[in-house]
Subunit: 175 residues, 2 copies
């Protein structure tokens, strides 16, 4: 697995079931959402802008994409969870199985972030992102071309404790 | 990571939060349970018996252990989920990072099973078990010595479709 294949497999429309475990309270949260992942051109203005803000040479990037989601949680059924973000992979020139990922909105905090990714030998994409007050670890893998799983851990910034663990099952919407 | 270290890290009492995603129905199930993992002697009568039933030389096994659990699901709050099983690792003599795992009660079907395990380079234990009508894939890893995560997938025996995906957060009970 490499980032080109991973992004290409991820493109499309997904129906997601996500369970979040708030560990300190043994609380369960259930989120259903729809996710859309679309490719972007390397010279898309938002891509150029994000590269500039991190002083990244646009020649180093590959397969930028946009992800948008809309869903609801059983914690607050009146609130619609909705958002979108742009992601830009920057593969390591010396090792195709790792690199950096720029994001214009982070997962744990809604500020731009840059994470470190790598692929394990069984094809799992692992992304580590450090924020000011938290560290996020995401693992994403495909069980088949139409089923994707994602585990996200939010840890305190010291790295010692996991605050929230969540698991998503994502099924490709064939429509 | 190898099976010795993995079993030693797993011993103890754990509080588990498990979410099951029944994918065809987009249904969520929430299970809370307590899990106890205790070491067994290699010459424990139940260990010898399970080895005999698979015609395994007891000299090849290592670190047998018992796992028991008790909990409840939000699907049927009156029912107490309770059970126990014996597990026996048989490391590959030529490769410490893989082997077989005997179990006197399987996860997908309550009959004895033998699965194939391996460790990925980031320390995840991966177990594949084939049953008559289903295939189970489990991934277990530690975020810290006191936090363990487990993803279990039940696939149809053809291997094409995932029927149920579940995610457990297990916190060591320090008491």
């Amino acid at each position: 697995m490499d980032i080109t294949k991973f992004v290409e497999m991820s493109l499309g429309h997904w129906k997601s079931q996500r369970s979040a475990h708030h560990l300190a309270f043994r609380h369960f949260e259930e989120i259903t959402s729809e996710i859309e992942i679309t490719p972007l051109e390397k010279d898309h203005p938002e891509v150029i802008k994000l590269c500039q803000s991190y002083q990244i040479d646009p020649d180093l990037i590959t397969h930028p994409f946009a992800m948008s989601w809309e869903g609801e949680s059983d914690w607050d059924e009146k609130e619609i969870l909705k958002g979108s973000t742009i992601l830009i992979p920057i593969p390591d020139p010396d090792n195709a199985s790792k690199g950096r990922l720029l994001r214009d909105q982070g997962y744990a905090e809604t500020i731009p972030s840059v994470g470190q990714y790598y692929f394990t030998e069984d094809g799992t994409f692992v992304l580590l992102t450090e924020y000011d007050r938290a560290t996020a670890e995401e693992k994403i893998w495909f069980a088949s071309p139409n089923i994707r799983f994602r585990v996200s851990l939010i840890k305190t910034s010291s790295g010692s404790g996991v605050v929230t663990a969540s698991f998503s099952s994502e099924i490709r919407a064939l429509s």
